[in-house]
């Protein structure tokens, strides 16, 4: 693995190094069947939803053991959810709709919501159940979960040497049981340098490495590695400033959208990318196959630019991309080259995160930066209404990740309605309407769907299932099979 964080609190962590631990050591009441977007019972063997969509009652599986050997109870679930909410960190954002969690019986928990929600089960998939091991005394003000891991997941963390390695071993009493060929022990080594990782893989010292587009997967294949390609749900976008700079004008945004060289960008991802037709990718709720695929069209770009008041170009726009991100840099250069043909100059700034936050704070007005960074978006649940709200909801304008500061009451209404619509087909229709409305506003440049996703392993690995709702570099150990485990 390329990076390490050193804080394993499920009430705090939201990045790939966190999820590497969470998905293997912790579990939620509900989850997604591995490799799909279908909900399945996990710690809750079943649930009931009230007709008004405001009350969810979960019936827990019996005999589920934590890593410390204690048995899962309804109180453990209540304590976990309450703690996540009380900590007020990012994972709490999945549970903002919760009004109250109550223990109904030893294995029954009731969650009362503030308002109706048809998508609460999706949110619950990211609320990991955790507890301090029995017999462990935690001093006041101390947070045991920063270093300690005690969940019900298939693997327990038995060794954690910061910035060096982590060792996971089977949780023998795991409730799903242990199939033949499952991994006994998993060692994650922290190796930040890509060349070192590749050498280790080639020499057979490791069985898998993090892959972040440093080289084409074929290069690894030629050197004897096994590449698992799986459909992904990641969308690469460039955030156009909707409230300031030249891009406050919808026609200017339209011109940029038509000028972007989508086909050329695919080579940046070694052809592991598709030209999109919108934000929501194939396989995800709300995806609309009938929408036209984006393509570079200078005639339309010129027409839009003229409508924006720049028939002959002659204007300069500012663009920022994240420092150190090669794909962002190349995307910026591609746009710069394309807009030159419209006589639009792009001033590119490589910026660290704080500088980008500053640009967001100063986005309004004529001097606002027109393109404020790129984002590689990846949904963590199958709830498309929340996913769209994150990027396009008025409530998030200027907040992560609505970095375009987009706001449209009609979109808000459609997303709110989708969230309380239990009927799948009706919800899908609403999502498609919201998505189409967003596209008509040319909010972002949707530059690529990054799919398929490449996962690089040694020839020893015989089975690996990529989960599209996880970050890349977050393998589910339980689904991996190797020769001679």
């Amino acid at each position: 693995m390329a990076n390490y964080l050193g804080n394993w609190d499920p009430a705090e962590g939201v990045t790939s190094p966190h999820y590497r631990v969470f998905v293997n050591a912790y579990e939620a009441l509900v989850g997604y069947r591995l490799g799909t977007l279908e909900l399945e019972p996990v710690l809750a063997e079943r649930w009931e939803v009230s007709r008004d969509l405001k009350t969810y009652t979960f019936f827990l599986r019996s005999g589920v053991k934590f890593h410390d050997g204690s048995t899962l109870t309804a109180s453990d679930v209540k304590n976990s959810l309450d703690r996540i909410i009380a900590e007020k960190k990012t994972p709490a954002s999945y549970l903002t709709s919760v009004a109250r969690v109550s223990v109904i019986g030893p294995r029954t928990v009731r969650v009362q919501l503030k308002g109706p929600s048809a998508t609460f089960l999706d949110a619950v998939t990211r609320a990991y159940v955790h507890k301090v091991p029995s017999g462990v005394k935690v001093a006041s003000g101390q947070n045991w979960f920063v270093k300690g891991v005690n969940g019900t997941g298939p693997y327990k963390l038995v060794e954690d040497v910061p910035e060096d390695h982590m060792v996971f071993e089977r949780h023998r009493a795991y409730w799903r049981g242990w199939p033949d060929g499952a991994l006994d022990r998993v060692v994650l080594r922290v190796v930040p340098e890509v060349a070192t990782r590749r050498i280790l893989l080639e020499r057979g010292e490791v069985d898998g490495i993090d892959y972040i587009f440093e080289e084409a997967p074929s290069v690894y294949q030629q050197r004897g590695a096994k590449v698992f390609l799986a459909p992904g749900l990641r969308t690469y976008v460039m955030n156009m400033n909707n409230v300031g700079g030249r891009t406050a004008n919808i026609n200017f945004r339209k011109a940029i959208t038509f000028a972007f060289p989508y086909e050329k960008l695919r080579s940046v991802f070694y052809q592991l990318a598709q030209t999109p037709n919108g934000f929501l990718p194939p396989g995800y709720p709300g995806y609309d196959a009938s929408l036209p695929t984006f393509r570079q069209d200078f005639a339309k770009a010129k027409e839009a630019l003229a409508k924006a008041g720049y028939p002959n170009g002659g204007v300069t726009i500012k663009m920022m991309f994240f420092r150190g991100e090669e794909q962002g840099r190349r995307m910026a250069l591609l746009l710069q080259e394309a807009l030159k043909q419209l006589n639009v100059n792009v001033e590119i700034t490589e910026a660290a995160f704080p500088a980008i936050l500053k640009a967001l704070n100063e986005a309004k007005g004529e001097n606002g930066v027109e393109i404020i960074a790129h984002l590689l978006m990846s949904p963590l649940t199958a709830d498309a209404s929340s996913y769209l709200r994150l990027l396009f909801g008025s409530v998030n304008a200027g907040q992560p990740y609505n970095w375009s500061l987009y706001s449209n009451p009609e979109v808000d209404r459609l997303l709110d309605r989708a969230e309380i619509t239990a009927d799948r087909a009706a919800r899908e229709k609403l999502l498609k309407q919201a998505h189409a409305r967003i596209l008509r506003d040319y909010v972002l440049v949707y530059t690529a769907w990054v799919t398929p996703v490449a996962n690089i392993f040694s020839q020893r690995v015989t089975r690996f299932t990529y989960h599209p709702l996880e970050y890349s570099g977050v393998p589910y150990f339980y689904g991996i099979r190797v020769k001679n485990p």
Partner: protein, 324 residues
Amino acid sequence: MIMVLWAITVVVFLLWKLVPGDPARTLLGLEASQQHVETLRKEMSLDQPFYVQYYSYVKRLWRLDLGNSYRTRQPVSEDIARFFPATLELALATMLAYVMLSVPLGILIAVHKGRPVDVLVRSVATLGAGAPVFWSGILLQMLFFYRLGWLPIAGRFDLGLPEPHRVTGMLTLDSLLARDMNAFWVATKYMVLPVLASVVSYLAVGVKVTRVMLIETLERDFIRTARAKGLRERVVLYKHALRNAMIPIVTAFGVQFGYLLGGAVVIETVFAWPGLGRYAVGSITSLDIPAILGVTLVISLIFLVMNFLVDVLYASLDPRIRFE
């Protein structure tokens, strides 16, 4: 020293204030609500005037409290105590190899000034200094791990083996204390490549400084007198010339030791060495201000201590120098 340290705290604190970005937002995560961010800003006194924040910062420093890391949630002092021994161990081993190689080589080429061995050693050392350390590091990995399979490529210890009981945090030293020669051998093996990569890039400085200072000293009158007295060349070289040439050499080595500690980032990244450099990189990318400030202070303190030690060494090398 105290004045310099105080100045460092001011500069570091000012730099922190100049960095755009909100530590509270960084701490809570991107998706946390603005209301939560504001509450935390108050808790962290970020809504207080600048001088109040600086005052509370210095007050905590006085109690050796460097604050808590946003990233690891641990006290920064504990994090530094965990990571620093690995960096110190590597720096000490590098310094040892560096001095043992560069001083004899410097003497050799000073004595044989202008001859083929002089040209050869200087050329090779300059080539090493010209190659970026990450590049020479990867080349060494390719040769000694990938091709020959003699040395481990990265890390600090065999994952299957139990580490020696932690006393100093330096694995070689701890294994010696535990009288575990196998562990000592394993820990040493892991150090060879990073040490070699560092020495390759620093060697030219040590060799050339030694050479130049020795040549200059060998041409001075007292050396001519020593030779005229009929002293043996070995005595002239080691007892008279080298000792007099040592002050600038020690100064250069002292400064370089500080650079070794401060510049461990690249070598620790290439060789996956879990030291302070890696901790610093992780802290910088996460905008972990307390950790960045803590590491900066510690590295600055080490520079100061090294300067002090070099000054002390002057007195033992040159009897004319005395401290009052």
